[in-house]
Symmetry: C2
């Protein structure tokens, strides 16, 4: 380990303080230890148990891939008529849309050794992944995330869940706590808890983790009361925050980074939704979709990258950020491929951990994705693909929130307190005709309790895949005390599921039990994968179920 610190590393922090005992004890793989002889001219290596590539039954791997500009850069308004041509095009499963494709292929033996080939991609490889893929990742991280120090490293992993597993095992010892948004990605917690590492929840608002609460928690940390020493690791999803869909901007990130410097905290930035940034939701009547600036004086790729909320890497002058990127949302979840961007010390330890578990990610996936990214699309082509994809998700977000708008009586407000203080929140009440139908009373005139009281509220997501509804259970007729919320959440969730709409129950996303206990009750709804028709249908069912559920007895 000592020798690693001699590399050109950020000097301000002693990174070895942040390595777990487990991580410190990992040795380089035997293959790595023979490295000094690799490349020796004429060397015959009989060292590793590598099958002859002639025995790989795949001679050529190929794919028909979508063209990089498959999706438009400017959103178009969707009709919500069930017979719209649009739904046919975007129907999930058995799509009838005519895709424009190109053919790519990876042969077993390439004519140039730098080209991707199956003899290498399907052979045992180092846990660093294919060389052309490493180069692409490095270029991409450099141009898009612009780390604040030069000698950062990239390292492949098998998706962000695998990456977080590796990161938390590398950084934390059993018994330690790590900082996390109070509502968060449940699999990340499920990964850490059995390792004996538990979350210390930080409050969130419309922009994600709150810097004031982070400082409060750290400065008031009481080892005895908390049952663990002050955390030195943070797990955070700063863009498309899961489940809330919040996007953290520059100012907040800089604030949090500075606190992490002050308290010597390593930031694990899990950022799968980074390229699904939509900006603020505007109701349909007020919405104007902008055309991108496309003049000969503007570099469109650079303008696009500049328009995105920055990564923590951009502020990371000390090398205390481990960024997790994945192809799960930008290529496909089944890719099980992504990469770390971090300092060289952490990258080396994470590589050691890869050697003794997953080894290199699957060669079939690496080969096809590398060929697509490096030969077919290139950096600019991939950025074009990401822009198109972001536009698609923008339309999805807008369509889904529009649909809620249509099914409920929505009002807009700037929240002044609670988790959404300062954000534009939307309050959903039953529509007048629903009140009339259920109670026989006129809603608009009388403002009676059922019509007036909100059913739920939301801050529409500015990125990601999810709408996070805060359910106003205190307006439920059987509500007597805050303890009722958990039961009511389960009841409402079950009523929806039995009416054929399956959503994420709020309690799944509580970082810790206390969070759920204090909570208002929530539902998380994905707008990422279904047909527009199904999304519309789901909001119609929600209308029916919600109104029935909250109906006075």
């Amino acid at each position: 380990m000592e020798s690693l610190n001699e590399k050109h590393l950020p000097k301000a922090i002693d990174l070895s303080h942040h390595l777990s005992e487990l991580s410190k004890s990992r040795q380089p793989s035997p293959l790595k230890r023979l490295a000094r002889y690799w490349g020796q001219p004429g060397l015959i290596s009989l060292a590793g148990g590598m099958p002859a590539p002639d025995y790989f039954p795949v001679s050529v791997l190929s794919a028909d891939t979508l063209v990089k500009d498959s999706f438009a850069l400017v959103p178009t308004e969707k009709s919500s008529s069930p017979v719209s041509w649009f739904w046919k095009l975007f129907g999930s499963g058995g799509s009838t849309k005519k895709e424009r494709t190109e053919h790519i292929s990876v042969p077993k033996y390439a004519s140039s050794p730098e080209d991707v080939n199956l003899a290498i991609a399907l052979q045992y490889g180092t846990a660093q992944g294919l060389v052309p893929l490493q180069k692409f990742m490095k270029e991409f991280s450099s141009k898009v995330y612009q780390p604040a120090y030069e000698n950062f490293a990239v390292l492949v992993h098998a998706g962000n869940t695998d990456a977080w597993f590796k990161a938390v095992s590398t950084l934390c010892n059993p018994g330690e706590q790590f900082l996390v948004e109070e509502w968060t990605y449940p699999s990340a917690m499920a990964t850490a808890r059995p390792l004996g590492m538990s979350p210390a929840a930080i409050k969130i608002d419309g922009e994600g983790m709150r810097s004031d609460d982070l400082r409060k928690v750290l400065s008031e940390w009481d080892e005895k009361e908390r049952g663990a020493k002050r955390p030195h690791v943070m797990y955070t999803v700063p863009v498309g925050q899961n489940p809330t869909g919040a996007t953290m901007g520059s100012t907040r990130k800089k604030e949090i980074y500075d606190i992490c410097v002050e308290y010597d905290i390593i930031i694990v930035e899990d950022d799968p939704y980074y390229f699904l940034q939509f900006g603020k939701y505007m109701p349909k009547s007020e919405r104007v979709y902008n055309t991108p600036r496309a003049t000969k004086d503007v570099d469109e790729e650079a303008a696009y990258v500049a328009s995105l909320a920055p990564s923590y890497l951009k502020f990371d002058y000390q090398g205390r950020v481990i960024r997790l990127d994945t192809f799960s949302k930008t290529v496909a979840p089944g890719s099980r491929l992504g990469w770390f961007t971090c300092n060289e010390v952490f990258a080396e330890r994470l590589e050691r951990q890869g050697e003794s578990s997953t080894q290199a990610p699957c060669g079939f996936g690496q080969a096809i994705i590398t060929q697509l990214l490096t030969k077919q699309w290139g950096y600019a082509g991939y950025v074009r693909w990401l822009r198109g994809l972001g536009t698609e998700y923008t339309m999805r977000r807008d369509f889904f929130v529009d649909s809620l708008y249509e099914e409920f009586h929505m009002t807009r407000t700037v929240a002044t307190q609670g988790a959404w203080a300062g954000s534009t929140a939307y309050i959903a009440r039953p529509r007048p005709e629903d009140v009339k139908a259920l109670t026989g009373r006129d809603y608009a005139d009388e403002k009676h309790a059922f019509g007036e009281k909100p059913l739920f509220s939301l801050v529409p997501p500015s990125s990601g895949m999810f709408v996070w509804l805060k359910i106003e259970f205190e307006n439920h007729p059987s509500f007597t005390s805050p303890e009722d919320r958990a039961e009511l959440e389960l009841k409402l969730w079950t009523a929806l599921a039995e009416a054929n709409v399956l959503v994420g129950p709020g309690w799944f996303f509580a970082a810790a039990d206390e969070v759920q206990k204090e909570a208002e009750g929530h539902l998380r709804i994905a707008f990422s994968g279904n047909s527009f028709e199904d999304m519309k249908q789901a909001t119609k069912i929600m209308r029916k179920v919600f109104v029935e559920f909250f109906r006075p007895t």
Copy 2:
């Protein structure tokens, strides 16, 4: 956990005793907890963050795959002339051999929901893998390994290193020891050690792990002296034992299984080389390659399967075996795909662990391999492929040992003591002409020390990818005491590497430090991947280096 034990499990053992604290604490993933609603007619799931398959940029994934009978069933003798046509055909890299291929493809949307399709394979999936692949694995394990109980489970993993990582974390707590062959696969030890789990070495002989030493170690276990309670887990490579190439037959396996019943030990059977079984090596002059029995009365597949050493599963009437299979040696190492065969309790816990780390294996790899196995080849076709592959490796083993025969003066003996007691071992001395050239003395007549004393000995492997040489360092001119061996091993290994032959140094494979200290000195040589020309050239270099190394000063 309780509910699991209510399934039809072997009743004789309480499997929960064997689950680590870590494993016991893992919860089912949120996705799994929603399972009761999957399949509800008309259900609209907005629960998971699943991208629409329309956004996957791969429209069709395809491959040109080798035909199942690409390799012959009967070995043919290889000429060792460097201009042989054979080497051209089998040269690694830039092969000029004309491969017979077939085209397979996996579309994004399949016409039948049971067909493999990318909309599912590239989507988030459960850690159980693709359904058609699960079925294939189950059928394969059932027909080939014939577990002694009916309700065994299969579960995908990302290669055997990942599988062992998952198994040892599922079974062992930090501080525990597990049983292992004294010489073993180093990455398996590198995986377990940082988790705080250490090996308890069992002596081996020409058939692998010794049952008498296993009983001795277990019956004499002294918790205080050993620093850990008696092990309840065994890690073993029973076929193509790495590094020795031993194959364990039925009798020994039954003996060991019975001891494991007696001492309540879970057997993790890591068996990547299972289909590379060659039988005993016979020198070229005595060798006759048999043609397979191919009459209309004989089911060739069944006869082939019956000819293989059985898996521990065949004796596993109690469900205490976790078998690890991998496609690394039978398709390609880069597949990073394989499967567990074990009881349902362990399978459930291993699945939970998969959910919080690797999730499902890569969808690109799963899709292509599943299509190849289920649509193109089928069970019988895959067995035909495996038989052909086994024949290829038989020729490689024979060719490499023949080459040693040609470069050294070899004698055959049945060893009466040491690790090879009872096995047919080959003793290598320098060839008379080498002795004459180096010393000017006549070897055959005088039987002087240099000519008479062995340089190394070996039991040729009966399976796997490796030749394991025991180096007779006590015959080295500078040898004074057993402590010199480690240094001499490094010296010889370095001399070989600098002469352009890179092999595995013996110490890599010592399960524990004590093993290396007591050892004779070894080298492990892979015959799996190089061209026949390179293998021949390597033995020529070995001849030169060994003779020079042992030459009297």
